[in-house]
Amino acid sequence: MSWGFLTDGAMRLLEKTLDWRVQNQEIIAGNIANLDTPNYTRKEMNFDNILSSYTQGNLQTVSLTQTDPGHLGGANPGAGLVEETTDDVDLDQEIVRMSENQLSYQASVQMLIKKLNMLQSVIDGGTK
């Protein structure tokens, strides 16, 4: 019997999504912290692009090169997903993006909780 339930695509995707959403929160925090910095241009993450390239399996990220199978992987799995723009920071837009990001994060967490509840249900044999 395989443990497909724990390692299926949905679970992995949810995990990845949480990582990206946290990274996006950092990007937005950086933008808002630099609200009054002269010559600062906002950075952003485009989730449409990231998700579509992830599902097609050709997501381009920057990571450390492993020249030996014994090497540990890089600790920054999301590096290279951030885009530099030429726009100034607009507080209103940034706050809207942040709210959207937070809600999406909560939705992903909720989905993860439901998945785990389903597993719990199976473990309990449906007795509860």
Partner: protein, 140 residues
């Protein structure tokens, strides 16, 4: 841990905006100061903010940047001369130089600093809410 990095970034914003607020308070307090340790009237100060990469290597990967007050600059242009021959700091013509501070513009900057501070608090709160939500994973 990644979640706290977002909070670090917001904290840098809070620090910078508070420093800006301090400088504005100093300007307003010294609205009529005609004598300073450097000599001459008080001159309007303003903060210079700069984006700094959180960690050196990360700057190459387009990671978010902290903000830092790198300099507090002094503006010596536009000092207000006022005719007041009885003043101890008056020159030969009876003019006293007053600081180049416009209270209205200082108040506007005060509001801007306050709003920017609030925006950083909002981001901090959101980051915290996300971390708390993540703690719910696997909790029955």
């Amino acid at each position: 841990m990644s979640m706290f990095k977002a909070m670090d970034l917001s904290a840098s914003g809070l620090t910078a905006q508070r420093q800006r607020l301090d400088v504005i308070a100093e300007n307003l307090a010294n609205l009529n100061t005609t004598r300073t340790a450097q000599g001459g009237p008080y001159k309007r100060k303003s903060v210079v903010m700069e984006a700094r990469p959180a960690e050196d290597f990360d700057s190459l990967l387009g990671s978010p940047e902290k903000v830092e007050v790198v300099q507090i600059s002094e503006d010596s242009k536009g000092l207000r001369p006022e005719y007041d021959p009885g003043h101890p700091d008056a020159d030969q013509d009876g003019n006293v130089l007053y600081p180049n501070i416009n209270p209205v513009s200082e108040m506007v900057h005060l509001m801007l600093a306050s709003r920017a501070y609030e925006a950083n608090v909002a981001v901090l709160r959101t980051g915290k809410a996300m971390a708390q939500k993540a703690l719910e994973i696997g909790r029955g």
